[in-house]
């Protein structure tokens, strides 16, 4: 077996995968990713529409000079970062509990985390609508305990949209962090305790730095998913919170202004790639594997 492993290792990556396989993969990526992206960047398609046709530069100029659209770009990034940070704050303790304290219940905790992912995102979002409705469970309860005099409008605003997004995305953060926490050698923490470090200091100086890799992975996954999400915003935001994905959806389904939609999607892609690069740089600077 050892020989076999060694032989496999010596053959390396190219021994397992023939250049033809790599060519097929590359061809697939070129046809279904690179060419569409280039086409999108060139933005030259003239579509059947009764609306005015404008050059692609018109849309980029509008996106980068009109304060409204600059605000939308800022809101999109702020929302994504905000949701990601909330997911870390909620997800880290859950991941820590899952790995260190759940014991034989860890299977159940993982199931509870993953179970919501098995249902449609629309169903999960509508669940919040029912809970937060003007005559929903939360308002009924608050009225029952005399905490409020008339129903509060929880829905159709940034708060409900953020809650919906966090609910959808927090399992990705927990699973990313938990997988790294599980790989941390417990003897390192024990050594710190033996050397006199308190439980909190051990966490701060040993556990947390070693789990940055998981936080980084979770950050990237959650940020990118939040950055492109629009169903939750559409259903819970009530149009109060406008982001680039929502405006892209409008351009496709209502005004059929595909050129503007293409320009916005290119900007969204650039934001995602830019943030991804910054996050990776930040994580590497902290001494974590990239």
């Amino acid at each position: 077996m050892t020989d076999q492993v060694r032989r496999g290792t010596s053959r390396g990556f190219s021994g397992v995968v023939s250049p033809w396989w790599i060519a097929v993969t590359a061809l697939f990526l070129v046809v279904f990713f690179v060419i569409p992206i280039i086409n999108n960047l060139l933005n030259t398609d003239q579509l059947v529409t009764l609306a005015k046709q404008r050059p692609a530069s018109f849309y980029y100029e509008k996106l980068f000079t009109d304060p409204y659209y600059l605000g939308i770009v800022a809101d999109t990034v702020t929302l994504s970062v905000g949701v990601t940070v909330i997911c870390i704050i909620i997800g880290y303790p859950v991941a820590l509990f899952l790995v260190r304290h759940a014991g034989r219940w860890s299977g159940l905790v993982i199931f509870l985390l993953i179970a919501p992912l098995l249902t449609s995102i629309i169903m999960r979002t509508f669940g919040w609508r029912v809970l937060f409705a003007r005559r929903g469970l939360l308002n009924d309860f608050l009225l029952w305990i005399d905490a409020i005099e008339k129903p509060i409008l929880f829905l159709n605003g940034p708060t409900s949209a953020v809650i919906g997004l966090v609910h959808v995305l927090v399992p990705f953060m927990v699973l990313s962090i938990a997988s790294v926490l599980r790989s941390i050698d417990l003897q390192l923490e024990e050594s710190a305790r033996i050397l006199g470090a308190s439980r909190f200091k051990t966490f701060l100086k040993v556990t947390f730095p070693l789990s940055l890799d998981g936080i980084g992975t979770g950050f990237i996954i959650v940020f990118l998913l939040a950055n492109g999400s629009f169903v939750t915003l559409l259903l819970l935001g009530g149009g109060e919170l406008k982001t680039l994905p929502l405006l892209i959806y409008q351009q496709f389904t209502i005004s059929r202004d595909f050129q503007f939609a293409a320009a916005m999607s290119n900007v969204l892609l650039a934001i995602a790639v830019g943030c991804l690069y910054l996050q990776l740089r930040l994580i590497k600077r902290k001494g974590v594997k990239g």
Binding site: V24, F126, F252
Partner: protein, 349 residues
Amino acid sequence: MKFDNHIRRSGPAMLGAAMLAFSVNPVSAEDITVTSFGGIWETAIKDCFASEFEKRTGSKANVLIGSPAQWMSQIEANPDNPPIDVIVTTQSQTMAAGEGGLISRATAKEVPNLADVDPIFIKAVDGWGACFDFGAFILAYNKDTIKNPPKSIKEFVDRTIKGDWMATMPSVSYAIAPDIIWSFADLYGGSADNVDPAFAVFKQLKDSGNMISWSSVTDFLNQMSTGDADIGMYWDGRAYAFIDKGNDWMGVIKPTDKAFMSCVAMNKAKGAPDAAWDYLNIVFEPGPQACFSDHLKYGVTNQKVQYSEEMKNRVTWPKDLRAPNVSTSRKIAQNAADWIERWNKEIGF
């Protein structure tokens, strides 16, 4: 080992062959692909038109769910061999598709039942086939929470601003938002060239804090069911269909100051087979149209259709509705992007 080498060398070819095999369309040459909105629309299209087509021709009519903008893009992507044979479109989209060469112009020669269609529904799409059904944007309300409902759209607006109830209106993300902007402009003394009066009203509604918005037809029903809204603007047919399902707490008001009318056309994609004409002829036939009307509670356009007494009372007829003419529809389509941008900037929901 030989097998391993074999896999490595021939794998890509096998993968390519498999992808090719899966990419071959299994639909036979006689089968057609038709389109429908979701929900009870899909049921009606299948029960009234697709099944009738299959019974008469022996070919299958595959029903594709989606939205007109998506279907138009699919036809545009491959106009010579379109993946869709019969497309459902709104008035302005029908004209855009016709003038852009995506659909064939249907006349009574290709679709004999068009001869019995009320001419206003042929004019409504500038002669690109005809609308096959029409709906009115009425006021639907909760009878338990509103005992004295408004009689007109203007009263609805005034009392919403005053705070008599929580109201809901279609958001700018709903497909016919530009048409609704025009209808408010028309109601408040503006036009397709001057939508300022409409935006002034929307601004007042928004600032009142008594208005939320819905972005899909099911969204409206959820808002009404959960109590998020007491009253709102909605399609008459869908409201009646909802009431008939046992939701008798919902009431319908036909506004005295003319509800907005929208009609839906169905046309054959230019590269589609002639079987699509057969399907369209069924769509405009009195029997299947009556079936469609019975399912969706909308008015239909063939003048020979016999409505039940209940439907006769429910349908709001075109003379009592606010509908854009061809020139206005064209302006709505031309200005849609600018109006939506203005809505985003000034109104926001």
